[in-house]
Structure formats: structure tokens, C-alpha cells
């Protein structure tokens, strides 16, 4: 199953490398949203709660773009039929899609987080980086699991571009709470982690619940 998943994942990454569709769009979107926040809030630099909220809301909104394009190739070119005809475990497709989304998010964050530090953040990013990387990694796992499930769920509906964000964003509220709360003390002028364990614990719980849940129900989305 891992090998099958890796094959599908490689296929998705190759498509992304050749077409360059999701990741550039998501990255551009994050920078645009920073500019919007600069004018919307009329602030040159942010710190603390405001900074962590802006960062996380921007990243989650960018993930919506990735999720709504995640199954585009399968849907538009009839790739689903090919995958269904192949004698493979359906879970492999979920793992591959979640993995692809995870890598897309990492690629976006490599640009988006430094860009945030450069454009909007008052205090420097340097001191907060190790903790921030852990929070981002755990957050990405959650977004990838929920995104791969919701993308498949919305792919068969008529107004899929509308359904995906409406499903995804409320489901991500607990993730947003824990990520934003864990990041907030790191972005204060007097930096330092605070309550990190509690929020990372909640984040891990969220990740475990949604990975297991998605693996359990994903099969039923492809049963035809």
C-alpha cells in the first residue's frame, strides 16, 4: 500500500512540477492577503495575537485553493476510473493525496512564513523558529488529512468550488485555535513559548482523530 501511495504521490508531484498550478497560486495568494491585511488593518507591523491570527488565517485560506484543486486531474481527465480499475487499496489514494497536499503546504510555507516576517511581523522570526516549525508541521498534518477528505467529498458535488471551502473552514476551527494560540506568545516582542504543551497536545489529538477518521471513511467515497 505504501508503494502504491508513493507512486500516486510521485505522479501528483510530477504534474505539479510540470504545470506549476497549485503551489505558485497558493504562494501568491498568501502574499496578496498580507497586503490586504496591511491596508485592512492599517498597520505597518504586527505582533502577538494579531500577527499569529493573520499568519494562520492566511495559511488556512491558501490551503483552500490547494484543496479545491487537489482532485482536479482525477475529475477532469477521468483518472478516478483508472484508479478504481487498478487492484489497489483505496486508502493508498487518500495517503497520496494527503501527502501531496502536505508537501504543497510545506512548499508554500517556505516562502510565505519568511515573507510574513519580512512584510508584516514586528519582532524578528529568528528566535521563534524552532517552535514555529513544530507548530507548522503538526498544523500541516491536520490540514492535509481534513483537506484530502473534504476535497474528495466535494469533488462529486455540482458546486464543488463552493462546497469545499464551506466544509473545510469550519472543520479547521479547532486547528486554527490551537495553532494560533501556540504561535501567539512566540510572536510577541518579549518572545518565549507559553502553554506550548497544551496546544501542541490538542493539535496532536486533532491530527490523530482526523487521520484515523479519514482513513476509515475514505473508502466509501470511491465505491462504484
Amino acid at each position: 500500500m505504501i508503494r502504491t501511495a508513493a507512486t500516486i504521490l510521485r505522479k501528483d508531484l510530477r504534474i505539479e512540477l510540470r504545470v506549476r498550478e497549485s503551489v505558485p497560486a497558493m504562494t501568491l495568494f498568501t502574499v496578496t492577503v498580507y497586503v490586504l491585511f496591511h491596508f485592512g488593518l492599517d498597520r505597518d507591523s504586527l505582533d502577538g495575537e494579531l500577527a499569529s491570527g493573520v499568519l494562520w488565517v492566511t495559511l488556512l485560506l491558501a490551503s483552500v485553493i490547494g484543496v479545491s484543486r487537489l482532485y482536479a486531474a482525477e475529475r477532469e481527465q477521468g483518472g478516478v476510473d483508472g484508479l478504481l480499475l487498478a487492484p489497489i487499496d483505496r486508502t493508498a489514494l487518500f495517503l497520496a493525496k494527503a501527502g501531496a497536499l502536505l508537501l504543497f503546504l510545506v512548499a508554500v510555507e517556505i516562502v510565505a512564513v519568511p515573507a510574513f516576517g519580512l512584510l508584516l511581523l514586528g519582532p524578528g522570526l529568528g528566535g521563534a523558529l524552532p517552535e514555529l516549525v513544530v507548530i507548522l508541521a503538526l498544523g500541516n498534518v491536520g490540514v492535509a488529512a481534513v483537506g484530502a477528505l473534504v476535497g474528495a467529498l466535494a469533488a462529486e458535488t455540482r458546486a464543488r468550488e463552493l462546497t469545499a471551502p464551506l466544509l473545510l473552514l469550519p472543520l479547521l476551527v479547532p486547528l486554527l485555535i490551537s495553532c494560533a494560540q501556540a504561535t501567539e506568545p512566540l510572536l510577541r516582542p518579549d518572545q518565549g513559548p507559553e502553554d506550548l504543551g497544551r496546544w501542541l497536545g490538542l493539535l496532536t489529538l486533532y491530527d490523530v482523530v482526523f487521520v484515523l477518521l479519514s482513513v476509515a471513511v475514505f473508502d466509501y467515497l470511491l465505491e462504484d
Binding site: 477528505l149 467529498l153 466535494a154 462529486e156 458535488t157 455540482r158 458546486a159 463552493l162 462546497t163 464551506l166 466544509l167 469550519p170 472543520l171 476551527v173 479547532p174 485555535i177 490551537s178 494560540q181 497544551r198 490538542l202 489529538l205 486533532y206 482523530v209 477518521l213 479519514s214 471513511v217 466509501y220 467515497l221 465505491e223 462504484d224
Partner: protein, 233 residues
Amino acid sequence: MYSKGLKPLAIATVLTTAGALALVFFYAPLDADQGFVQKIFYVHVPMAIVALGGFVAGGIMAIKHLRSGDPSWDLRSYVAIHQSIILGVGVLITGSIWARASWGHWWVWDEPVLVSFLVVFLLYCVYYPLRFSIEDPDRQARYSSVFAITAGAFVPLNFVAVRLAEAYTHPRVLSQTGGSLPGEMRLTFLVSLLAMGLLFVTLWKLELTSKHASAQLRRLKRRLADRRPAAVA
């Protein structure tokens, strides 16, 4: 098949609801702090508990549907979620009124239960566009079930998260179990909860019966329409 026991259930619902109303207005003492407006508690809290229970029950029925492949479980799950959403509107309105009366604002962001309920409500509102934009009935049932299970598991997780986010800023006056309620209030509350639960089950059965009946009617009409041209010929 769904109508079994509907009549006694309906009678029990009417009696319990009447009893609950009588207890609320004539038996339960006035709240020393909030006065008469606190009575909305006996509608608001049972409604919220029953709505959340309905969401979770919808998820469990959806599991049964996916396990057995029997579409009637999907219908049960749909009706349960549909009614919970309707109750959810009531919960948000009564909660808002209560918040206005006792805290002076229509909406209070530092009340974790209210906020988590809003998030859950927003998520479940997507159930309709999801369900009714899938035409194939078999796939509609399966996708709706997957949604119902995911959202059902999300309900408790969301409550934990929102509660944690507010835990140290807003002390709870009433604990969720009613442990700090005086005896008369607790009795009234429990009877109100029972009434609301019975109302939910009765309406659920009624809706299922009516859906079942109209499906049967459609089937009969179709058979009649099939037979008529043959008779003419």
C-alpha cells in the same frame, strides 16, 4: 414501518411538554440573580443538548448505513440532522436573547458553549448543499453518511478546543451537568430535557413515516401509470 408506537409516543410528548411548562412557570423558583429571564434556560439548554445529541446520533446512523448499505439508515440520519439544524436555529436565537438579557450583548464571544455551537451549526449548514447537489441516490447516501460521520466526530473535538481557548478567562457559573443547580431547578430542567428529547424523537418518527408514505405513494402511482397503457391496448 416507522409509524409503530407513534401514537403513545406523541401522547407522552404532549404530557411531558405540558408538565415541563407547568414546572417552569409555577414550580421552579425565580433566579435570585437573573430573575424571570432565567426561565429561558429551560428551553435553551435542553434544545442545545438535544440538537447536539441529534447530530451525534445522525453520525451513528450514518455508520450503520455504511456498514449495512441499507439506505433507510441514511434516511434516518438525514432526518435526525435536518431536525437538529432546525433546533440549532432555535438554540442560537434563544441563546442570543438570554445573552442580551443577562450580559447586555446579543452575542458574547467569550462564552465557549455558544461559540462552539455556532461553529458546529455552520458546518452542518453545508450538509444541505452537499447532499442535494449529488444526483445519484446511492452516491448521495454514501457521501452524506461520510459527512455525517466526520461532522459527528468533530462535535466533541470542537467543544474541547473552544473550551480550552477560553478556559482561564471565563469562569463557569452553572456546570454542564447541572450539579450546582438547586433541587427544584434541577427537576424542572430534567423534565424539560426529557420533553425536548421526546419531542425530537416524535417528530423524527413522524417525518420518517411521512417520507416513507410519500415514497410508497410514488411507487404505486408509477405502477398504475405503467399498467394503464397496457389495459387500453
